[in-house]
Amino acid sequence: MPEMTLIDALREGMDEELARDPRVFITGEDVGKRGGVFRATMGLFEKYGEGRLVDSPLAELSIVAIGIGAALAGLRPICEIQFADFIHPAFNQIVNEAAKFYYRSAGQWNVPMVIRAPYGGGIGGGLYHSQSVEAFFCHVPGLKVVIPSTPADAKGLLKSAVRDPNPVLIFEPKKGYRSIKGDVPTGEYTTPIGPARIAREGSDLSVYAYGMMVHYCEKAAEQVAREDGIQCEVIDLRTLLPVDKETILQSFKKTGKALIVYEDNLTLGYGSEVSAILSDEGFNYMDAPIKRLAGADVPAVPFSHPLQEAFMINPEKIAHAIRELAAY
């Protein structure tokens, strides 16, 4: 199995889907000749031409909405939003049209489209290039939301998303685009949308995370295992909507303690729902308060490096939270 970066795996996934299905096309700002702001589509323009790598105007609502229309009409669009922070102009189209179309038409039309957007902080991106937006969309039935943390899942989930008959949002941890490396299976495979992944087995407490935070949680888990003998089970949620309750509860049943880690703002972030699931359906297993470790409730990730670091969750903060919970 070759080792690959997250972004190379995403590109390979798109490449294979473009080759497999002539209905697949990619649109977004500078996705063509320039290969995208993060080079996610680099080289694909040369391979597939301007009819399938379509540079759009700088107009996010149109990038998404043209994808919805094309998907309704039978194409398989992959729409790239340069940064998740820029997705808000398209919010209405995603929530009011993409999510509702199958429902409002009583099954006449479905919306087989993919929206890709890099998200997350810790790169010096400041207010409008650091946001985590997944919770907004996880509130909307009709959408699917995935966040890969490994190159193998990035490619596999992307390929599943392209083939899914529903609108799928892929939020990609951009801090890990090139820093996250991992083995990617050779040959054809997909990663199913739905199941979570047990990234590390353990019996003392369950740590739930997605995206970049999975890596930080694994790092923290190794540290507390080495230094304190605490064995954490790390669950990579991968698919946020629909949520994999079974895996979430299975782990909790074993450990009785849960730490949910996400870099979005704490209040009503995705971890709030995981917490609610655990208390609703896992009360009998509970040995300690369910803990969330998340970004501060501030309007945005600020620019100044010390402020950014104060906002961001890191392995040290996670290790500290694990120790506290283990000692409860």
Binding site: S62, G69, Q93, E97, Y102, R104, A106
Partner: protein, 321 residues
């Protein structure tokens, strides 16, 4: 008389009368609380624009519109029984009772629906047109646009996109002079809305008298042919709604003088005049068409009334394909 046969002209008349009778009965049924909800946007007065323009399309062409959508659905050929059942919120409605008046849609006739978010359907129209271009299947999208929608961002982005990608779409602005209650001159710096086309590099087919279905047909035919071969076209149809913005809007009653001017040129009357000019003995045929339209609508009401309500299963299905 354009290039239409007498039979085609009678068909055009039939569609307009059917829409008018449908809308009249909907208004009554709403008053009787048989049609529920808080919204019902009637098309009375605008029939010439919808029917005239759609007569220029092939069945394989596509139509999308805003929330004043009953007449558009009827003219595109959606089943009248199922349209009425949707008004009633019945399980047999075109949208399974989930949509209601503003959210009709019938895929089988390429009627892509009514949309309640003003302007929100315009980029979808562009997306549907992109598929036509992508597959080179030469299908045209006719997108109706209310005058009120020309001032939001959807309009700007969609028109620009259709121009840069040469999409086969006809943007048809139905200018009924008011965005809800606000006159076009009050909301719009350039009230001659068709002039917007020039700014986007779109072929401007100018203003047309929306009360005359044949005038609308003539310009739509040119615009549709242009869109099919070259790219986007824009038409502004000057029309008038006889009813309020919605059923609860009574403000229109204050506009009696203005309304009288338009009602004197009612699209049904204009069409009758065209037909009588062609054939002085047509009157009995027109009366028969009207009687048949009334019966079609009554049958649709019976169908709707006898149809079952949706169930809890309908609430929770059609979320994911």
């Amino acid at each position: 008389m354009a290039d239409l046969t007498k039979e085609q002209l009678l068909e055009m008349y039939r569609q307009m009368v059917l829409i008018r009778r449908f809308e009249e009965r909907c208004e009554e049924l709403y008053a009787q609380r048989k049609i529920g909800g808080v919204y019902l946007h009637l098309y009375n007065g605008q029939e010439g624009t919808g029917v005239g323009s759609m007569f220029a399309l092939k069945p394989s062409d596509h139509v999308i519109t805003a929330y004043r959508d009953h007449g558009i659905g009827i003219a595109k050929g959606a089943d009248v029984n199922r349209l009425m059942a949707e008004m009633f919120g019945k399980r047999t409605g075109v949208s399974g009772g989930k949509g209601g008046s503003m959210h009709l849609a019938d895929r089988s006739v390429n009627f892509w629906g009514g949309y309640a978010i003003v302007g929100g359907h315009l980029p979808l129209a562009a997306g549907i047109a992109l598929k036509s271009k992508y597959n080179d299947d030469k299908e045209v999208v006719l997108s109706f646009i209310g005058d009120g929608a020309t001032n939001n961002g959807y309009f700007h982005e969609s028109l620009n996109l259709s121009a840069v990608w040469d999409l086969p779409v006809v943007w048809l602005i139905e200018n009924n002079l008011y965005g809800m209650g606000t006159p076009v001159e009050v909301s719009t710096g350039q009230p001659e809305l068709h002039k917007r086309a020039i700014a986007y590099g779109i072929k401007d087919f100018g203003r047309v008298d929306g009360m005359d279905p044949l005038a609308v047909y003539a310009v739509a035919k040119e615009a549709v042919a242009y869109a099919r071969e070259h790219g986007p076209a824009l038409i502004e149809s000057i029309t008038y709604r006889y009813k309020g913005h919605g059923v609860s809007d009574r403000l229109y009653q204050r506009r009696e003088q203005e309304m009288a001017l338009y009602k004197a040129r009612d699209p049904l009357t204009v069409m009758e005049d065209h037909l009588k000019q062609l054939d002085p003995g047509v009157e009995s045929a027109l009366a028969a068409i009207d009687a048949a339209a009334r019966e079609t609508v009554e049958a649709a009401i019976r169908y709707a009334e006898e149809s079952p309500d949706p169930t809890y299963d309908d609430l929770i299905n059609h979320i994911y394909a």
